[in-house]
């Protein structure tokens, strides 16, 4: 369980987040939506312990967040740059396993298993820059999933992909979430995507001093499907509600 209590964050004099209070139960997929520049990436970096300090308290499974927590994985907004170009795809994906002290052969096997899961079996020996954008994004996701994190932070991971790849990756994420039961905080600026993916959608206001302006549970019937789910009346109603909250200043 991730708990934020009156969390604030600033860069120098520039107050980015103000008074954010949120509780994310274990296994929830929380989508965070908000206008560009409101502080979504800043929120994730604060939770990840990547910024030197913050106001308020953040606890992960009861322990206060000071520095990067264990069992955390992040998919960064600039995913192509976040991969190490001098390593092969397999080496990139196996890198997080070093902290678990696995022998080399097991790290390889584990990396190959997760690459197969994201449909990249044939690219293990290539370098990230030899892959298309969507494939690079899947490598970044594989690298995040490989050490079975208990908390996964994703920053607009599908933002620059074509519609088809995007839908495939959305469904891949839903499947991973269903099978692994990992807690996910998923930042997006796409309102449709937030409602389609999320168990719950949180809307941040325009900064500076962004706050939570809407906290909406998403209750959609049955397992989700790109065509039917997006056509449901409930889906359309939720989407309008989130859309209104984003536009309201």
């Amino acid at each position: 369980m991730l708990r934020l209590d009156t969390v604030g964050q600033h860069y120098g004099d520039h107050q980015v987040l103000h008074d954010i209070t949120l509780t994310v139960p274990g296994g929830q997929l929380l989508c965070v939506v908000g206008p560009s520049g409101c502080g979504k990436s800043t929120l994730l970096r604060t939770v990840a312990g990547l910024l030197p300090a913050y106001d308020g308290t953040i606890t992960l499974d009861g322990a206060p967040v000071r520095g990067v927590p264990d069992n955390l994985a992040v998919v960064f907004q600039d995913y192509a740059r976040s991969l190490y170009p001098w390593l092969t795809v397999r080496e990139n994906v196996a890198l997080p396993l070093r902290r678990r002290g696995l022998p080399r052969a097991e790290r390889r096997a584990e990396a190959d298993r997760i690459l197969a899961q994201v449909g990249l079996t044939d690219t293990a020996r290539r370098h990230p820059w030899q892959l298309s954008g969507g494939m690079q994004q899947r490598v970044a996701i594989a690298r995040a999933l490989v050490c079975r994190p208990s908390l996964l932070l994703m920053d607009e991971p599908f933002g620059s992909l074509d519609a088809q790849t995007r839908e495939d990756l959305e469904d891949l994420l839903l499947e991973v979430h269903r099978t692994d039961g990992v807690t996910i905080v998923f930042v997006t600026h796409d309102i449709d995507e937030s409602v389609y993916l999320g168990d719950r959608v949180v809307v941040l206001s325009q900064g500076p001093g962004a706050k939570v302006v809407l906290d909406l549970p998403v209750e959609l019937p049955g397992s989700r499907d790109q065509i039917t789910t997006r056509g449901l009346a409930e889906f359309v109603a939720l989407r309008s509600e989130v859309g209104r909250a984003v536009r309201k200043r």
């Binding site: 990547l50 994985a73 997080p96 820059w129």
Partner: protein, 291 residues
Amino acid sequence: MKQPGGGASRSTRSARSAGSASVPRRPRAPAVVRHALLRWIVLALAVAVWQLVARAHGSVYFPPPAEIARHAHALWFSGPARHVFLTDAAVADILPSLGRMTAGFALAAVVGIALGVAVGRSRRAYALCNPVLQFARAVPPPALVPVFVVIFDFGTPMQIASIVFSAVWPVLINTAEGARDTDPLRLEVAAVLRLTPAERLGFLVLPSALPRIFAGLRLSLSLSLILMVFSELLPGTANGIGFTLTDAQSRSDLLTVWAALVLLGALGYLLNTGLLAVEKRLVGRGRTPTV
């Protein structure tokens, strides 16, 4: 950086133009051969002109290249096969020079990279050391040699120290710059992956600084060669290519002087080519043109 794809596209283009029936032409030399020809033709022409002019004038100061080559061969490369054709003179002069240069360059590289990473990874160390480094770099390296002569007296330690203290700055400064420019996002990735400091160095900082490190190494290599010769020119040296130069000059043996100069040029070219090959293997792998 040249990509292997460049050669391939060139050869397909020439294959296509050769295949077009409208323009009949005689079969062309393969691309590789044409490339090599282009690269060497200017040098070959220069040598040919030199040969013709020198022969026509018959000056003792400017012997023709063929004669220099014959002399160099007799002097250094006509030894027995079990000595890889090196003569005793070559063993006595070229090998000590190369040994000192290699030792000095290797030491400078190791020290320069180690200190460079340390300085580049710490903002405070960088701010503190940068003025000193810029100052040290600005001192013309041969001017330091007298200092080492006083400290070590003449001989190999003085020569190696001169090489190290001249060649270390370019590697150090370039490594520091490269390490400092490590992508902050990739550093955040390293933090999230909880890499140890050693892993962060091996998987992130050194690979991303590698192009800068090699730029420094190339400068250091040519400085090493310069300092190798310079430190051997001083009175009190007993062997080395530089010693051969001064010795031949004192005997007015201009043919040997020229042979030594050509040898130095060839050595510099070979060493640089070797370093470029290493760089291409290490840096060429896994880098996009844009990163």
